[in-house]
């Protein structure tokens, strides 16, 4: 491609890729659809500083125009490009090539827990259906002057969970549903447990979701293996700060006769 380089714009002044640091990598990318598929080999150039998604783009542009992949922000903020890289769930846009074992083939496959649509794109509808089953936020009335007041320390607990970028990797690794399709109807998964926890800890919320967490969303099926916490790209302590306190609150509600007297603030975690 030839372009005249303008002296006006940064392109002319910014250094190009240092090709002396480039190398050729072997990629195996899963190609196929709901009827089946296979790993396909690609030999592709890698430049300094690139991430897996850059390489997928290069394969797409030069060797496989129709390779399906989801992505949006390419900056680890939207959670679109989750896949399994060498068998580990990761965001393709945040996995630097330099973090992978040098010289080894890179295997990229779609999230295993969800049905494949095509290539690296899975049908994650499950999560959006579960989202609809969470009782909505119901705030208390505003203060007399029309404002809401909350202390920073009180909003921070919920803020941790609201960092979630819905990449669905915690849902993908949760063994309750990873190899047990039959559990999906009665189990919403870690993403929605922290959503329930967030609402339950919200300083303004008046809805009680403890019974529904247990009975409809399958909180009791979680046995705290912490796989979800391990893969969270936002480093949310899903199990320790979300699921366990939620389980304790549910247990309080279930077994604690004093709850009737002291209400929801009986035990602060």
């Amino acid at each position: 491609m030839t372009t005249t380089v303008s002296s006006n714009n940064p392109k002319a002044i910014q250094p190009d890729v240092d090709k002396s640091k480039s190398f050729t990598a072997n990629f195996k990318v899963w190609r196929g659809d709901s009827s089946g598929g296979e790993l396909v080999d690609y030999s592709v150039e890698v430049n300094e500083g690139e991430v897996v998604l850059d390489i997928i783009f290069r394969i797409q542009a030069e060797q496989a125009n129709d390779m399906a992949v989801r992505w949006n922000c390419k900056a680890g903020k939207c959670g679109s490009c989750s896949a399994e890289i060498n068998g580990r769930p990761a965001l393709q846009c945040m996995t630097r090539m330099s973090s992978l074992p040098p010289g080894e083939t890179v295997v990229v496959t779609p999230l295993r827990t969800f049905p494949v649509m095509r290539d690296l794109v899975t049908d994650v509808k499950f999560n959006y259906e579960k989202a609809k089953q969470i009782p909505a936020f119901r705030p208390r009335p505003r203060d007399a002057d029309g404002k809401y007041r909350m202390a920073q320390i009180d909003v921070e607990r919920g803020q941790e969970f609201r960092k979630c970028i819905e990449c669905w990797m915690c849902q993908n690794v949760c063994h309750v549903i990873r190899d047990h399709e039959e559990n999906k109807p009665s189990f919403s998964g870690p993403r929605f447990f922290i959503r329930l926890a967030e609402l339950d800890m919200h300083p303004l919320d008046t809805n009680d979701r403890k019974v529904i967490a247990q009975e409809k969303h399958g909180l009791g099926m979680c046995n705290i293996t912490k796989c979800c916490t391990e893969v969270c790209p936002e480093h949310i302590k899903i199990t320790d700060n979300g699921i366990i306190p939620l389980k304790e609150r549910v247990a309080d509600r279930k077994y604690d006769p004093l709850f009737q007297i002291f209400g929801r603030n009986h035990r602060k975690h």
Binding site: M1, T3, T4, V5, S6, S7, N8, N9, P10, K11, A12, I13, Q14, P15, D16, V17, E48, G49, E50, V51, D54, Q60, A61, E62, N65, D66, A68, W71, N72, C73, K74, A75, G76, K77, C78, G79, S80, M94, R96, M117, R118, V121, Y128, A131, A136, P139, Y148, R149, M150, A151, Q152, V155, G158, Q159, R162, K163, I165, L199, H202, D205
Partner: protein, 606 residues
């Protein structure tokens, strides 16, 4: 045609970013049967990447702040080319729109007395950006998304609209007749199957055009779909030459070049230095902002704590000024090794403060560039970020000139004039999303529109055409050429000869785009999707180039070497573009004149 999937609504919203979701909520509340269509999954829209905050004069941190000050900042930031009425409505209504988000469950950072915290940003006299650390866009999108789900509004995810449909009562263009809006036609990305929506009111909330540029902060969805869809049914577009190059995008490694580095870094105390360690922004304070800007480092540093007796640091000049300054430093050979400037907060704030206020930036630099921003400076440079130009709309209702068509957010034009202030985008999405939804619902109540015969067939044939051809261009290659052309020839600094060269090339690209070839089948095929999106990018790029050649001055997001200063005459003119049968034309239209009671705000002694 085989079985075509059809749906019928009162109001159809295209796009599920901040503006689209807010519009859908408002239309639903207005009693309209409402649906949202989006190219990605719900909650992945580009709004998710907005970092800094939502500008709203709530006065929680600085009681002196009010809508008049915000309005004045907005107009001055836009170099007085804004639609004054939109700037006024935005300044007046943003606080209520932000507070509404709390009712939907948003958790903003708080002031010591429990109110929504507000932070400093470029071009704003007071700290007025409601925020959550530096991930405000995520909070906003998630809040609106959860509200849309709670209200039970239908969302069609991963579905792309390729054409707006009309009742056919208007002039003939692009193979069908224009007229009143009657619906929209598109395809499911998963299957490639077609889908048709019947709706008398359509709200465009499709964002911007950044994917026409090589170095951009924008996601793949930013292919100017709304701009192009609107133009093809006869809507007019305003001032497409104004493109904001955000001064601070990442510049290294090359693969991440363009990814946004939030203005909050400067708002929270970060400064810009050249390779010699000089804080160079003091050399780039324009006459227009001299009275508001500190001219010594000591005064600039005092301003963070005492805004009454000190003026703003020059790093917090509006974005166009800062982007040009960095560009000039790099061009003069004083740039960093990767061709940018140094953005330094490490030497000015504690690691604890940086981690608290900028967690997302810390993470981004650590993961992508191996840089610890609490210990060393970042390297940054301009990146294509936002288009101020867009669909010409009625300031109060967001109605375009085509009956039944509305536009809100980045796809709408006028609000930001020639340059947008940071934080004014999220406010814009909420304020005008709400207005568009409200007025579209009202319009739809009293209107029915029937899709004219033959339109669906034309739209379907057009969409699948790339599969019927062989030996044409690869869409990826053409896209790369387009991006390089726009970046280098219609970029941050412009010249007539370079822009004419770009326009000539664009004509060539247009011909080649008619013969793109795609491989594979219709099932989730990104090559095919790109071939369709490219047509929109090419139309938008041509409009950008045409308007940029015409506007013979430098103002805001339009800087020319050959006309380096702002011109009084051009300060009163909007360039209004339209399209017919693939040909772009324009006319000049006087800017609406601000009433006297608002003019006074610009005369006050400072």
């Amino acid at each position: 045609m085989t079985e075509l999937e059809r749906h019928s609504y009162d109001v159809l919203v295209i796009g599920a970013g901040g503006a689209g979701l807010r519009a859908a909520i408002a239309a639903h509340e207005g009693g309209a049967r409402t649906a949202v269509v989006c190219k990605s999954l719900l909650g992945k829209a580009h709004t998710v990447m907005a970092e800094g905050g939502i500008a709203a004069a709530m006065g929680n941190v600085w009681p002196d702040d009010n809508w008049q000050v915000h309005f004045r900042d907005t107009m001055r930031g836009g170099k007085m080319l804004n639609n004054w009425r939109m700037a006024q409505l935005h300044a007046q209504e943003a606080p209520a729109r932000v507070e509404e988000l709390e009712e939907y469950g948003a958790l903003f950072d708080r002031t010591p007395d429990g109110l929504i915290s507000q932070r400093d940003f470029g071009g704003h006299r007071y700290a007025r950006l409601a925020h959550v650390g530096d991930r405000t866009g995520l909070e906003m999108i998630r809040t609106l998304q959860q509200r849309v789900v709670a209200l039970g509004i239908d969302v069609y995810m991963e579905c792309t609209i390729t054409r707006l449909l009309t009742d056919g009562t208007g002039e003939d263009s692009n193979g069908t007749n224009r007229g009143n809006i009657a619906g929209a036609f598109g395809y499911w990305r998963e299957t490639g199957r077609f889908v048709c929506f019947e709706a008398p009111a359509v709200i465009l909330a499709t964002g911007g055009i950044g994917k026409s540029f090589k170095v951009t902060s924008n996601s793949w969805e930013y292919s100017g779909d709304g701009h192009a869809l609107a133009a093809r049914v006869g809507a007019t577009l305003l001032n497409m030459e104004f493109i904001q190059f955000h001064p601070t995008g990442m510049v290294w490694p090359p693969s991440v070049r363009g990814i946004l580095v939030t203005e909050s870094v400067r708002g929270d105390g970060g400064i810009l230095k050249n390779k010699d360690g000089k804080r160079f922004m003091f050399d780039y304070i324009p006459e227009f902002f001299k009275a508001d800007t500190a001219d010594t480092e000591a005064e600039a540093d005092r301003w963070y704590e005492d805004k009454k007796n000190n003026r703003r640091p020059p790093e917090l000049l509006p974005r166009d000024e800062v982007a040009r300054a960095i560009n000039a430093e790099v061009k003069a050979g004083r740039g960093s090794p990767a061709g940018g400037a140094y953005l330094d907060i490490a030497s000015r704030r504690t690691p604890e403060y940086i981690n608290k206020r900028l967690p997302s930036m810390y993470h981004q630099f650590k993961e992508l560039a191996d840089v610890d921003i609490t210990k060393e400076p970042m390297e940054v440079g301009p990146t294509c970020h936002y288009i101020m130009g867009g669909v010409e709309v009625n300031a109060d209702t967001q109605a375009a000139v085509v009956p039944g068509l509305y536009a809100a957010g980045e796809v709408g034009g006028g609000m930001h004039g020639s340059n947008r202030l940071g934080g004014n985008s999220l406010g814009d999405l909420l304020v005008f999303g709400q207005r568009a939804g409200h007025y579209a619902a009202e319009y739809a109540k009293s209107t029915t529109a029937k899709i004219a015969d033959g339109q669906i067939e034309v739209a379907a044939a057009e969409a699948t055409a790339p599969f019927d051809r062989e030996g044409g261009d690869n869409p990826y290659a053409l896209h790369a050429e387009l991006q390089a052309t726009m970046n280098e020839l219609v970029g941050i600094i412009r010249d007539a000869d370079e822009m004419n060269e770009a326009l000539a090339r664009l004509q060539g690209f247009k011909q080649r785009a008619k013969n793109l070839t795609v491989t594979g089948n219709r099932q989730f095929n990104p090559g095919w999707h790109l071939a369709i999106d490219l047509k929109n990018m090419l139309l938008c790029s041509e409009m950008v180039a045409v308007a940029a050649i015409e506007r013979k001055e430098s103002r805001g997001g339009h800087t020319r070497n050959d006309y380096p200063v702002a011109d009084k005459y051009w300060g009163t003119q909007n360039i209004v573009l339209s399209e017919k049968d693939g040909t772009v034309s324009f006319k000049l239209q006087p800017l609406p004149v601000m009433p006297d009671d608002l003019k006074i705000l610009f005369e006050e002694p400072k």
